[in-house]
Amino acid sequence: MRIAIQAEAFDMGAEANRFAAGNHGAGAIVTFTGITRDTAKGDLEAMEIEHYPGMTERALTTIATQAMVRWSLADCLVIHRYGRFAPRAPIMMVATAARHRGDAFAAAEFLMDYLKSRAPFWKKEITRSGTGWVAARDEDEAALKRW
């Protein structure tokens, strides 16, 4: 299990390969990569991500440990960046390894649902017409109910 909270860029493909190489017993590997999306208007200049150092590590470790136990994962990985990003930058990634695909998929979705609403990150969009904090979506809160 590896949790990385970092300002630095990561190479999604290299991380995926390194993760896969370490998981000899697993038949199924799922990755999710989140990329800064442009606004509906197409005028995003940058995305800023703020976090709560200390609590972020604790929250992600707790969430990842829960996923490991609940789905008998062979391994899991969470990378989340903070700082200022251009549109189309990879900002986070999770990976899960399990014997069967159902567990790998479920654990990855669980990790994402918790990351969205329970890990202390906040996103701010900087556009040509102004800046604004991204509002939490009701769907994201609702998504937690299924677990």
Partner: protein, 82 residues
């Protein structure tokens, strides 16, 4: 003495990321009421409790959670990671 931390627009409205306060508040709700009574910027930042979340010593908590023994209180909007 409690360390108070603010994030995102709560931080922006209050105008600082952290401060230390001397308080006798028994719960987070009481602490928030105390600060809101003290200065306009707190009252504005804390006006809508439904849009706030709180962590005590880096664990999410409710507004009526007791502050006994707590050293670090963080107040922030709903999280938007991922």
């Amino acid at each position: 003495m409690i360390d108070l931390l603010y994030f995102a627009w709560v931080r922006e409205r209050i105008g600082l990321p952290r401060e230390q306060v001397e308080t006798n508040a028994a719960t987070v709700a009481e602490l928030i009421a105390e600060l809101s009574a003290r200065e306009e910027r707190y009252a504005l930042a804390f006006a809508d409790l439904a849009s706030l979340r709180v962590a005590l010593d880096q664990e999410l908590a409710d507004f009526d959670a007791p502050l006994t023994g707590v050293r670090e209180v963080a107040i922030f909007p709903p999280m938007t990671g991922g």
